[in-house]
Amino acid sequence: MLKLPVSQMEELFASIASEQSLYLPLETNGLIAFSRWEEGKQARFDQLHCAGSVKDFFFPQTENLALFKTSGKEIHIEENRDPEEAFVVFGVRACDAGSLSILDRVFYDEPADTFYQTRRRQGLIITVACNAPEETCFCHTFGLDAADPGGDVAVWLLEDMLYWDSRTEKGHALTERLRGLFEEAGDQGEETVRKGKADIGKIIDRLPLRDLSLERFAGDGMMEKFDAPQWESLQEACLGCGTCTFVCPTCHCYDIRDFDTGHGIRRFRCWDSCMFSDFTLMAHGNPRPSRLARFRQRFMHKLAYYPENHEGLYACVGCGRCITKCPVSMNITKVIKTLGVDQHA
């Protein structure tokens, strides 16, 4: 483990940015979001979550797939991927970092999604431990540890010192490149980090959602959950917007669309939301014509279908964005609690 005084973070950023694009939490338009770092810009680690999740870097909201150029009655197909770039995202929390393994399973599954793959290859994640978890946090429910956030490099910001621990090949390579900036953390540093982790753990034990249990979701009984009568009352509040989906670090549905530029067709993909009435709309109509069906889809996917297909891994990382962002305060924890309590109330 290495360390660096927090006062020298600016130099660290500059060094990273000299060879890779560096994104970290910056305040723009009243929002703290991952943005491209430039000299003089103040990183904001005081707020736990960025408005968008780290998913946006690997699976952007819109992405060009191809361009069909017309000239007269001829059509030429051109690839128009966004240019590749090597980049580093700094300040990723444990939950967001955890979301990537959920996305990986989807996009790496054969045939692998080369757009996602390229970005994953080019991107490096530097996590930051959560010194002050929020009341909306429930990452522990999914086995994630806010105190030990993972990623290619894990960072702790404790007592004016930045502790740096690289975990992967990519991380080691970066560390090697930046080695000159750091000092060895030493035993004292290790001890500080250990103590910091313990402090975080104490807070996690006091979180209001500490007892959130997925016990009832494990194993069989998918149809039972599907048919649970509680969906009816749960979905009543839902407006059918896509906020939860779009702020969610694990939601990964997309639509493929064509845009007529006047000179050809630009084919691109963009995020979709199972909450939208035109989600998976087909010629015959929508397989989930009611809000209830769409609402249920989102949570069944996260809590039943995805685990069913991925060795019990839930498609939620407990970041709590949906709790803070849902316009009507309906969210996955309310669903878990309601369905987890009694299926036949």
Binding site: F34, D56, D82, T261, G262
Partner: protein
């Protein structure tokens, strides 16, 4: 952020090609205005979409034609039954696709073929243009004119004037869609 390369692309995008600017165009339709010189030396030729109601303005444009009153070829007319048929979507669409100015022409208020259509147009456009101005879009890019079927000369002069105004204003960068230029 890799996801939003739009702004970079836009910055590097080639300046809009002057699609219909022949070198030997008559001097009276090609007045070079300082600041609007393109790299290749040709003057900026704006693209103007002119919506005309069938009963008054389109007929006014016809009269301008039969009176052989010239106005720049930059103006392209779209016929609609009444100015009240013009949806704000059409105007924004034109800007998206590369129009530099949009002008809505209808019968004089009170003379609408459908008696009240242009009264609604007047309210809609006042609010739409005001909103575009509020968003920082140059208000000179949009215009409503009441042109009767008898006002051929006025139609031509309004078009000349509007083209000149847009030429001074330069290319529509704020409302254009980068994708339509590729």
């Amino acid at each position: 952020m890799p996801m939003s390369t739009e702004s970079q692309v836009q910055a590097n995008a080639p300046a809009k090609a002057p699609t219909n600017a022949p070198a030997n165009a008559p001097a009276n339709t090609l007045i070079n205005t300082p600041g609007n010189e393109e790299k290749d030396g040709k003057a900026f030729r704006p693209l103007i979409v002119s919506f005309c109601c069938n009963w008054c303005s389109y007929a006014g444009a016809d009269l301008a034609g039969s009176s052989r009153l010239t106005y720049p070829a930059d103006v392209k007319i779209i016929r609609v039954p009444c100015s009240c048929r013009i949806n704000p979507l059409f105007i924004l669409r034109a800007f998206q696709r590369g129009a530099d100015g949009v002008i809505v022409n209808g019968c004089h208020p009170g003379d609408c073929h459908y008696s009240t259509g242009n009264f609604y147009t007047r309210r809609r456009m006042a609010l739409l243009f005001s909103m575009l101005d509020f968003l920082g879009i140059e208000k000179e890019r949009t215009r409503v004119e009441w042109v009767s079927a008898a006002e051929g000369a006025r139609f031509a002069s309004v078009m000349r004037e509007f083209v000149e105004q847009i030429r001074r204003l330069g290319e529509n960068k704020k409302l254009g869609d980068i994708r339509c230029k590729e």
